[in-house]
Symmetry: C2
Subunit: 340 residues, 2 copies
DNA sequence: ATGAAAGCGCTAACAA
DNA sequence: TTGTTAGCGCTTTCAT
């Protein structure tokens, strides 16, 4: 067995099959355009040589990479993992690959991450959220690159936003919190200035409070990283204040779970001493003791629909503008009545 | 502004900069090989045109894609997410991208997943585990594709295995379980036949028990999916048996956490009524109540070292064969003394 | 339905 | 140090 044999090319396949390069190419790309006999000869040669197409050459010649890029703020949150998963499945079924990248919430790196992804070659881009820099949108427009935004529909009139209204979702759970009797509510979330999800969630809660003549003390707006650890820190900071809230609304379940843990570390009982509310609906929240009250986001569906919409865009199929998807209010143990 | 302008090519850059195509290429790829003046002219032209290289063309001409493929059994386990994260960071720093794919434990799909990844174009492949089909290894060999195996060092003499000895890790925690006084131990893990991690973990526990003249009843070997849900099912099945164990060792933390949850649902106290032991050391385990006793795997380090090793392989740098990395025995609340 | 041939945008000899 | 040029492996007209 020759150790110097190169990887077989389509020309090798064509030669072995006794057909032209063009026919071999068509047999693999548009099998309906060749005679069954030709198709079979080519397939036999492919199998015999163990031929695998060269995506780079294909992309260069056809100007399509059959790859979709996806930019996430982080992959360290199971809620995002779920959406990439269904996205991946949907695209794979149509012969597309998903190229995932993340900027770990360094939003200023987003442009560079997108450029690197563009360089790698993608036919379309899926991003999380509607808040992106002007440079990002300018780049996508200049490249005429189809894109789909996910997670939020607030604050954007772009027709391809697959997500929920974070404002409405937060508003809905905010009402439940007030209904339980809470008058002293704190918010621990992310920086709302360049993140429409953080903004929508905060404003939704505020609106629900305002509806009842309530507001949040300025010092009870706490910002913390989107992680278990961030939630622990946020909880601790709030609990060290002279005036303490009876309920804390976190921007994500990750933070809220950290909050529950930290409360326990401080010897507190949830919800007896303090209620804790999350946002996302990750499986881990249900497993906690107490189980986490939160808002469920259809992450799986978001991934699937975003991928489908992207495929439609690439095929030039008309698709109606998106409408907000359904969120779910998950009333669980960590939300209770305030003390006294 | 013309709406028909194509994406600029390197030829456009060269023309605008007043240099040859070759110089422009070198300015971007090997800047040290061009005069500073040339470099600057090219950079200016790049900026002015908003030029982004075409990775496909680059790959085709240079026969290098600067992309590393990574095949995971699933991305639905935070332990894997951590390793891809550090892998990504390490590669990105060296100008490489990571192309991640998973087969969701459908091990028979692995070959197809690898073929699709190969087609997309990669310079090297990183896989989880040492158990792969002969076809997989034959394909990698035929393609002369450098590869690194991760997670396990057991059952393989391939020099590029970045991981721990699952057997030893399980053996170590097995001893702790016996030391607590357990004589009735059950095992709920994955199918050991084509997964050396499941096999090593099971055998390690068995060895620790055997050392003390103990064994596992045949009906106490339970297989369940690697998920919270799988752990719940596994626990329930074991608990419905006429004879019940005093300790259950799960193959992954995901399952163990599901087990703790299910125990609670059944009105049991952990570890008073039953001890539960996991494997992986994910953050969620520590947040549970009771906190999960488990074995910590250096997932982050595995990702980093695997990526580094891959880069060395690509550069032709000599690297010594791997040695097993350190695991950590995490004795926590869910492992206690057996009742009575 | 098939074959021939012209690129796709870039890199890497090779010459100068 | 720079310019010139021949491909890289494939798709896609255009003829036939």
């Amino acid at each position: 067995m020759s150790e110097t044999k190169r990887r077989p090319t389509l020309a090798d396949v064509a030669r072995l099959a006794g057909v032209s390069l063009g026919s071999a190419s068509r047999a693999l790309s548009v099998p309906t355009q060749v005679k069954p006999a030709t198709l079979e000869k080519v397939q036999r040669a492919v199998a015999q040589l163990g031929y695998i197409r060269d995506g780079s050459a294909r992309a260069l010649a056809s100007r399509r990479t059959r790859t979709i890029g996806a930019i996430y703020p982080t992959l360290n949150n199971p809620i995002f993992a779920h959406s990439t998963h269904s996205m991946q499945q949907t695209l794979w079924g149509q012969g597309y690959q998903l190229l995932i990248a993340s900027h770990e919430y360094h939003i200023d790196d987003e442009l560079a991450v997108i450029q690197a992804t563009l360089e790698r070659g993608i036919d379309g881009l899926i991003m999380v959220g509607t808040d992106h820099s002007e440079e990002v949108f300018a780049l996508l427009h200049r490249w005429r690159l189809p894109y789909v935004l996910t997670w939020s529909t607030d604050d954007s009139n772009y027709p391809h936003c697959v997500g929920i209204s974070n404002f409405q979702a937060a508003f809905d759970i905010g009402r439940e919190i007030v209904a339980k009797g809470h008058r002293h509510v704190a918010i621990c979330g992310g920086d709302p200035s360049r993140n429409e999800r953080a903004r929508g969630r905060r404003n939704g809660i505020l609106a629900a409070l305002a509806e009842n003549g309530l507001s949040v003390r300025p010092e009870w707006f706490v910002e913390a990283p989107f992680s278990y650890q961030g939630g622990r820190e946020g909880f601790r900071r709030l609990w060290e204040m002279p005036e303490r809230p009876t309920a804390i609304v976190f921007g994500t379940d990750l933070q809220a779970i950290g909050g529950i843990y930290e409360a326990r570390q401080l010897g507190l009982r949830v919800p007896r001493d303090v209620s804790i509310i999350g946002f996302d609906g990750i499986e881990e929240g249900e497993l906690m003791q107490p189980s986490l009250a939160t808002v469920g986001i259809p992450a799986h569906e978001i991934g699937r629909l975003a991928a489908q919409r992207m495929l439609s865009l690439l095929e030039g199929v008309e698709v109606p503008a998106c409408t907000p998807m359904e969120h779910t209010i998950l009333l669980r143990e960590s939300l209770g009545k305030p003390k006294r």
